[in-house]
C-alpha cells in the first residue's frame, strides 16, 4: 500500500514541470528536434516511393518504380539526364537535391488504403522520408495524402484519376500531376460527338469506388451536355472478375453506347466480356454499337489484346508523342529497360523532378517552402506542353490525349494511337466547379 503525501510545494513543482512540458514548442520535443518533419541533416535526402508491388496493379507499380529509379539516377547525375535536359526550369544540376545525394526507400501499397498508409507511415517515421509519392488507385492516393498532411511531409500523387483527389479530398501537402475524370470527359466529349453524333443512348458500368463514381459523373455530364441520353448507371463491385451478368442487360437496354468506367484488371475483363457478347457487332437504333473506355493505359490495352481495337479513351501521356521531352524520356527509359514507359511511369518521373526542382527553387526541404514553390508554378518540357500547377487545388493543368486502340499494331507496345491532343484550356475548370466542391485545401503542415 502506497502512502502519498500532497504538499503545496510538491504540487507547485509538479505543476510547473507539467505545464512547461505542455507549453514546450514541438520543435524541442524528441520526435521533432528539427524545424520540420525529417529535416535532412546529413549528405543525403530520402524519398519514399509507395507503389503497389503486389495486387492487381502490381505491373503499374513496377513501372512506376522503374521510373522513380530512373529519376533518382538522373537527379544524382547518372545516366543521360532524361527530361532534366528538356525541363524548362534549370535548377536541377545532377548533384542531387540541394547538394544532397538522393536515396530512396520503397513500400508496397498492395492497392489497399490501410496497407498503403502503413507503409507510408513506416517510411516517414522509420526511414526519414521527406516526401512520399506513388499509388495506382485513387482510394490509396486519398488515404496516403491525408496521412502526409497529418505527418507534415509532401505527397506527390502518382496514378490517381478521381476528381476527389484534388476536389473534396484535396490537401495542402498534396500535389497531383496526373489528370482527372473531369479532364478525361472534357477531352473525350468533343471527339465522341464528332465520331458518334449527338443522338446516342449511353449505358455506364462503373467501378464502385471514388474513382469510378467521379469518372461516371464527369462523363455522363459531358455527354449529356452534347445531347446524349444516359440509359443506366450500374455500379460493379471492385472485386468482380466476370462481368457477363452486368453486360447481358446492356443487350436489351436500348443503349447504343457502353461506357466502361473501369480500370486495370476490371477494364480488361469487362471489355473482354462486352466484346464476347457481340456488342461491337451489334446495331441498335439504326446505329453501330460503340464502347468507350474513358481512362486508357498501355498496360491495360496489352491485357485486353485485340479487344481494344478502335475503342476510344483518354490518357495522360503516351510514349509515341514526338515532342523533345517525350522522346528524351522514352529514349532514357527504353534504353535502360528495353520497352517504352507507361503513363504511370511518366507521371511519377515528372512528379519526382517537380519535387526536386521545387526544393531547389525554394532552397529548403521544408514542405511549406516546397508547397509554395509548386503553387502556381508554370513549366514546360515534361511531355504535355505548357503546364500549370494550380495554387488553389494543387492540380496540374496540361494537354490531355484522346487515344484509340490501334487496328494494326506493329509491335507489342504499339497498341494505342493518339487521335487528338486536347489543349489544356479546354480541360481546365474553375476551382469552385460543383464536381470538385467540398473539403478544403487547408494550410501546409511542416510537422
Amino acid at each position: 500500500m502506497s502512502n502519498s503525501k500532497f504538499t503545496r510545494r510538491g504540487m507547485l513543482k509538479t505543476g510547473a514541470i507539467a505545464g512547461a512540458g505542455v507549453a514546450l514548442p514541438t520543435i524541442f520535443t524528441a520526435s521533432s528536434a528539427a524545424a520540420y518533419t525529417n529535416e535532412p541533416t546529413g549528405s543525403t535526402v530520402t524519398l519514399g516511393f509507395n507503389v503497389p508491388q503486389t495486387g492487381p496493379y502490381a505491373d503499374e507499380g513496377a513501372d512506376e518504380l522503374r521510373a522513380y529509379q530512373l529519376a533518382v539516377e538522373h537527379l544524382n547525375g547518372e545516366g543521360d539526364g532524361g527530361m532534366m535536359n528538356t525541363f524548362s526550369s534549370n535548377e536541377l544540376q545532377g548533384n542531387g537535391i540541394l547538394g544532397k545525394k538522393v536515396e530512396f526507400v520503397t513500400g508496397d501499397t498492395q492497392t489497399k488504403s490501410d496497407a498503403a498508409r502503413a507503409s507510408a507511415k513506416s517510411m516517414i517515421e522509420k526511414d526519414g522520408a521527406v516526401m512520399i509519392t506513388g499509388g495506382s488507385s485513387s482510394g490509396v492516393a486519398i488515404a496516403v495524402q491525408g496521412l502526409c498532411q497529418e505527418a507534415g511531409v509532401i505527397f506527390m500523387a502518382g496514378l490517381t484519376h478521381s476528381n476527389d483527389t484534388t476536389g473534396k479530398d484535396k490537401k495542402a501537402n498534396g500535389f497531383r500531376h496526373f489528370f482527372n475524370g473531369y479532364m478525361s470527359a472534357a477531352a473525350l466529349a468533343p471527339v465522341l460527338k464528332n465520331l458518334y453524333g449527338t443522338d446516342r443512348n449511353a449505358y455506364h458500368l462503373t467501378a464502385d469506388y471514388t474513382w469510378g463514381w467521379t469518372q461516371e459523373e464527369s462523363i455522363a455530364a459531358a455527354t449529356e451536355a452534347m445531347g446524349w441520353n444516359t440509359v443506366n448507371k450500374v455500379r460493379t463491385p471492385l472485386a468482380s472478375t466476370d462481368f457477363s451478368s452486368y453486360i447481358a442487360p446492356v443487350l436489351n437496354s436500348g443503349a447504343d453506347v457502353l461506357v466502361l468506367n473501369h480500370y486495370g484488371g476490371n477494364m480488361v475483363n469487362s471489355l473482354t466480356n462486352a466484346v464476347q457478347f457481340g456488342l461491337r457487332e451489334k446495331v441498335v437504333n439504326g446505329k453501330q454499337f460503340e464502347i468507350v473506355v474513358p481512362l486508357y493505359s498501355r498496360l491495360m490495352a496489352k491485357g485486353a489484346g485485340a479487344n481494344v481495337k478502335g475503342i476510344h479513351g483518354s490518357t495522360n501521356w503516351h510514349w509515341s508523342l514526338q515532342d523533345d521531352a517525350s522522346k528524351a524520356f522514352v529514349k532514357s527509359f527504353g534504353t535502360k529497360y528495353g520497352f517504352p514507359p507507361s503513363q504511370a511511369a511518366h507521371t511519377v518521373y515528372c512528379q519526382t523532378l517537380l519535387y526536386a526542382d521545387a526544393a531547389s527553387r525554394a532552397g529548403t526541404f521544408n514542405p511549406c517552402g516546397i508547397a509554395e514553390a509548386l503553387e502556381g508554378f508554370e513549366f514546360d518540357g515534361l511531355g504535355n506542353g505548357k503546364t500549370l500547377y494550380r495554387a488553389g487545388d494543387h492540380q496540374c493543368f496540361k494537354d490531355v490525349l484522346v487515344v484509340r486502340g490501334k487496328e494494326n499494331p506493329t509491335s507489342e507496345f504499339d497498341l494505342l494511337e493518339v487521335v487528338e491532343v486536347t489543349p489544356a484550356a479546354q480541360v481546365t475548370y474553375p476551382i469552385d466547379h460543383p464536381m470538385f466542391a467540398g473539403g478544403a485545401l487547408g494550410t501546409c503542415n511542416a510537422g
Binding site: 503486389t54 495486387g55 492487381p56 496493379y57 502490381a58 505491373d59 513496377a62 443506366n232 450500374v234 463491385p237 472485386a239 472478375t241 466476370d242 457477363s244 451478368s245 452486368y246 447481358a248 442487360p249 443487350l251 436489351n252 484488371g265 480488361v268 475483363n269 473482354t272 466480356n273 464476347q276 457478347f277 457481340g278 457487332e281 498496360l299 491495360m300 496489352k302 491485357g303 485486353a304 489484346g305 485485340a306 479487344n307 510514349w319 509515341s320 522514352v330 529514349k331 527504353g334 534504353t335 520497352f339 517504352p340 506493329t410 509491335s411 507496345f413 504499339d414
Partner: protein, 340 residues
C-alpha cells in the same frame, strides 16, 4: 423474358466454373479429409498452362527489318514463330490459334503430377493434424504458388483468346423464336464442364478403381483391412482433382484473361459452394455450383438491384446462411462427414 433466359445461361456458365472447382475440392475432402485452400491455385496453374502453351507456340526467331523502326528509332526486329516456318503460315497459324484447346493435352498430365507432388510432398504430413493446420498450410502454399506465377508471368492479365472458329456469338434463342445471343466459347465451356463432371462421376461409378475409392470414402479403415492400399488410390484421386481444377482453368482463359490472383478470386466462392452442397458430397457440389451461379447472375440484374441494393455482392452468402440454417449438413451432405 429474354433477359431472364440470358441470366440463366450466364448462371449456368458461372456455375460451370464453380461446380468444377468445387467438385475437385469435394473429391479431396471426401477422400483425404483435407481442407485444401490451395485448390484455387490449382485452377490458376491450369490457366497458366494455357498461357505457357500459347507462349511456346509463339516462340519466334528474329529478323531485322531495316525498312521499319522500333520505339527507339532502331531497325525493327520482326519476330516469326518457329511453328509458322515449320508448318507454313496457314497451318502454323491454326496451331497457334487453337492453343487453348490444345493446352488440355499438356495440362492433364502436368496437373496430375502437380497434384501428386503436392499431396506426397506436403499435404500427407497434415492428415492427422487439425483442419485449422491444413487450412493454414494450404493457404500458405496458395500464396507461394501465386507469387511464383507472378514472378514469371507478371501481374497484368494475359490475353489468351479462344480459337477464331469458337469466338463470336450464337443465337441460342432462334430455336424458340427469340433473340438470345450468347458467346460461343461460353457455350463450349458449359458443355465441357458437363463432360468433365460426367466423366468423373462415370469413373467413380463404373470402374473398379472408382468403386474402391467410393468404398474408401465411406469407410476407409474397413477397405484398408481388406488389404487394399487405399492411401495410394486417394493420392491418385488428389491428382485427378487437381486435373479437374486445371481443366477448369485452361478452358476459362478465353472468358477472362488469366492473372496470378484468379485462384483466390474463386476460392472463397468455391468453398461456399462445397459447404452449401454438403461437405463431401460430389452431386451436392455440382448442384450447388450451378444453383449459386444462377442466383448470382439474377442478383446482378438491375431490376433486382434496384429493389435490394448491393444484393449482387452478398446473395451467395445470404443463401448459404439460409440453407445451412435449414439444412446444417448442406443440400446433399451426409451425416458424420465433419465428425470423421
Amino acid at each position: 423474358m429474354d433477359a431472364i433466359l440470358l441470366q440463366i445461361l450466364n448462371g449456368l456458365d458461372k456455375g460451370s466454373a464453380y461446380a468444377l472447382i468445387a467438385l475437385g475440392l469435394t473429391l479431396i475432402f471426401g477422400t483425404l479429409g483435407v481442407v485444401n485452400f490451395a485448390h484455387g491455385a490449382l485452377f490458376m496453374i491450369g490457366a497458366f498452362c494455357a498461357v505457357t502453351v500459347q507462349r511456346i507456340f509463339n516462340i519466334s526467331y528474329e529478323t531485322v527489318d531495316e525498312s521499319q523502326t522500333d520505339f527507339l528509332g532502331n531497325a525493327l526486329v520482326v519476330k516469326t514463330p518457329y511453328i509458322e516456318s515449320w508448318f507454313g503460315p496457314q497451318m502454323g497459324g491454326a496451331i497457334i490459334d487453337w492453343a487453348v484447346p490444345l493446352a488440355i493435352l499438356f495440362t492433364v498430365p502436368i496437373m496430375i503430377f502437380v497434384g501428386y507432388a503436392m499431396e506426397r510432398g506436403l499435404i500427407k504430413h497434415f492428415y492427422k493434424r487439425p483442419h485449422a493446420d491444413q487450412i493454414l498450410v494450404t493457404f500458405g502454399l496458395a500464396i507461394v504458388l501465386q507469387e511464383v506465377v507472378k514472378y514469371f508471368y507478371g501481374a497484368n492479365p494475359i490475353q489468351t483468346p479462344a480459337p477464331e472458329a469458337l469466338s463470336g456469338i450464337v443465337n441460342l434463342g432462334a430455336i424458340i423464336g427469340m433473340d438470345i445471343v450468347y458467346p460461343v466459347w461460353r457455350v463450349v465451356y458449359f458443355f465441357f464442364s458437363l463432360v468433365v463432371i460426367g466423366g468423373i462421376f462415370s469413373f467413380l461409378q463404373f470402374t473398379t478403381f472408382g468403386m474402391v475409392v467410393r468404398a474408401g470414402m465411406a469407410d476407409r479403415e474397413t477397405v484398408g483391412l481388406l488389404g487394399i492400399n487405399i492411401d495410394k488410390r486417394f493420392t491418385v484421386m488428389f491428382g485427378i482433382a487437381a486435373a479437374v481444377a486445371g481443366l477448369a482453368g485452361v478452358m476459362y482463359t478465353p472468358i477472362n484473361s488469366p492473372n496470378y490472383h484468379m485462384g483466390m478470386d474463386f476460392l472463397v466462392l468455391s468453398f461456399v459452394v462445397v459447404v452449401v452442397g454438403g461437405m463431401g458430397s460430389l452431386p451436392g457440389a455440382v448442384l450447388a455450383g450451378f444453383m449459386l451461379g444462377i442466383l448470382e447472375s439474377f442478383a446482378s440484374m438491375n431490376e433486382i438491384k434496384s429493389l435490394v441494393p448491393g444484393i449482387d455482392q452478398i446473395i451467395i452468402y445470404v443463401v448459404a446462411i439460409i440453407i445451412l440454417l435449414v439444412r446444417p449438413r448442406g443440400l446433399m451432405g451426409r451425416k458424420g462427414v465433419m465428425e470423421d
